[in-house]
């Protein structure tokens, strides 16, 4: 699949997210939309994962540390054949395993998340296991920028730098917004490059809603030796539906009937235009 087709796919998957949130009666709309291109890049261009490889010890490992963006992950996993659309249609319903944060009862999900600040250290453990057993797999951890206020993130960052885990790549969905507003007013996340660099990381930056740019950054991360890499992916919260873009109010929201129709129409238009 070429870049244009993947970009189109990522708009189509956002439509699936809108459906999911509408039917499920809740979901983290803004973050789902900002992170989508990161997930599409990893799942469609880089990670050697698939529904038939979940027992393969050499499969790449993925952790969605910003677990509240699970609707985007479900849409991607469903697209990659990990489960059917019918199964996913039970999202948020009574007794469903497709809940509002990742859990490993769902095929394709390695670890449970939702409580922020855990994923990076878990990824450190996975990357250490790969080193111990000399296995070739890589570990990817996607975090939110608001999440970086959790102290435990920096415990993991410290350990990854200390052990020089070059098989670990962190991606920060840098959309600049969290529930209460701008990340810079809630708890400033400035100097991110310097912070990660000081912890011994190879720091990369990319346009986070541009699959070609993300692809190039992941390739550079894979090529880095002796240090873990972090990609600061500069995204737009709500990217794909202009009324939701850069609006903190869309962090967790169910669209009204009008918003639903407008979002679906705009996403379809952008999907077609991408091709």
């Amino acid at each position: 699949m070429n870049g244009k087709e993947l970009t189109a796919k990522s708009f189509a998957l956002r439509k699936d997210v809108v459906e999911m949130i509408r039917r499920g009666g809740g979901g983290h709309f803004g973050g789902d939309f900002s992170v989508m291109d990161i997930l599409v890049t990893l799942y469609c261009l880089h990670m050697n994962v698939g529904p038939d490889r979940m027992d393969d010890p050499d499969r790449d490992r993925f952790i969605l540390s910003k677990g509240h963006s699970v609707e985007a992950l479900y849409a991607v996993l469903c697209d990659r054949g990990f489960f059917s659309r019918e199964e996913l249609a039970t999202f948020s319903r009574f007794g469903s395993k497709y809940i509002g944060h990742p859990n490993n009862k769902v095929c394709g999900i390695e670890m449970n998340s939702g409580s922020l600040g855990h994923g990076l250290s878990v990824g450190v453990g996975m990357a250490l296991a790969a080193k111990m057993d000399e296995r070739p797999f890589r570990v990817y951890v996607v975090m939110g920028d608001g999440e970086l206020a959790e102290g435990s993130v920096w415990e993991g960052a410290m350990a990854a730098g200390h052990y020089g885990l070059d098989n670990l790549t962190a991606v920060i969905d840098r959309n600049g917004l969290q529930i209460s507003g701008s990340t810079e007013t809630v708890m400033a996340q400035n100097s991110l490059r310097e912070r990660w660099s000081a912890f011994g990381w190879n720091v990369l930056e990319a346009e986070g809603n541009d699959i070609a740019a993300l692809d190039a950054a992941v390739i550079r991360a894979k090529g880095c030796r002796g240090r873990p890499s972090v990609i600061i992916a500069n995204t737009v919260k709500g990217y794909g539906y202009s009324a939701a873009e850069n609006q903190a109010g869309w962090h967790h929201k169910v669209p009204t009937a009008e918003q639903y129709a407008a979002a679906m129409a705009e996403l379809e238009e952008r999907r077609v235009n991408a091709l």
């Binding site: 010890p57 490992r61 859990n103 490993n104 390695e110 670890m111 449970n112 998340s113 939702g114 409580s115 855990h118 250290s121 878990v122 990824g123 450190v124 453990g125 996975m126 990357a127 250490l128 296991a129 790969a130 111990m132 057993d133 102290g151 435990s152 415990e155 993991g156 410290m158 350990a159 200390h162």
Partner: protein, 313 residues
Amino acid sequence: MNTVPNRQIICDVLMERAAVDRDVVVLCSDSRGSASLTAFADAYPAQFVEVGIAEQSLVSIAAGLASCGKRPFAASPASFLSTRSLEQVKVDVAYSGTNVKLIGISGGISYGALGMTHHSAQDIAAISAIPGIRVYLPSDRFQTRLLIQALAQDDKPAYIRVGRNPVEDVYTQGDCPFAMDRATLLREGGDVSVIACGEMVHAAREAGEMLAGKGISTRVLDMYCLKPIDREAVLRAAYETKGIITIEEHSPYGGMGAMVSQIVAGTRPVVPVRSLALPDAPVVTGASKEVFDHYGLNARGIINLAEELIRGV
């Protein structure tokens, strides 16, 4: 008097296991010395992970290792491991179902004069409330060995608390009956039952012998398995003896006494349960024995309660 602390036994067993199972991994948070794991770190550097003073990441890293097939044992002072890392224990270990064994060292009040920051009087309550993880407080070095040997070969999460100092033997080499998740019957009796865990088991056994001398037939149970607690042994005690005394190095809230009371209240409420525990307060400054004696967590305290119970029934 035994001079080998239980933590040393854990190191011995893990070194034996590491020699035959390269997936056995030990993690420490600048705690290898206090956990008696320096010998492991020196002998198996490729199976040892130092995370620094970072107990949250200690647990998460262990969970990541376990998810890739390793058998991690994460050792850190019980005070920090059980409450500072509780979120990681809940999510990354218990909820994700990773095969992590958490070794809480210097548990209970064994850090003595270091104060409440270093005491873990809430660990049974905190961790038992989380679904999907087991809780063990072995009593002596022989039982600790058998427990760790069993845990090193199973695939489910567990928290194990041991104290800092050597404790008197309850069992002997070659005579340590052990069945996983079953209380060990140390003494049969029909008047009262004493249910103890961890370092309190020795006092319970002593009390059982002294009570027998006074004509009070006392059943003594070593409830090293707090979760899953041996419900059957508790029920038998409730039906076959006239009263139950529990004794533990833990807060009066949410520990073994509360668990036993819950079982008895729901099945045979006529049987009185009396619990000996640490106070709901920072404990008095002192070495373990001084602190236990101060609060009546000893044979004398058990005997007093047993006599009270017998008078009352």
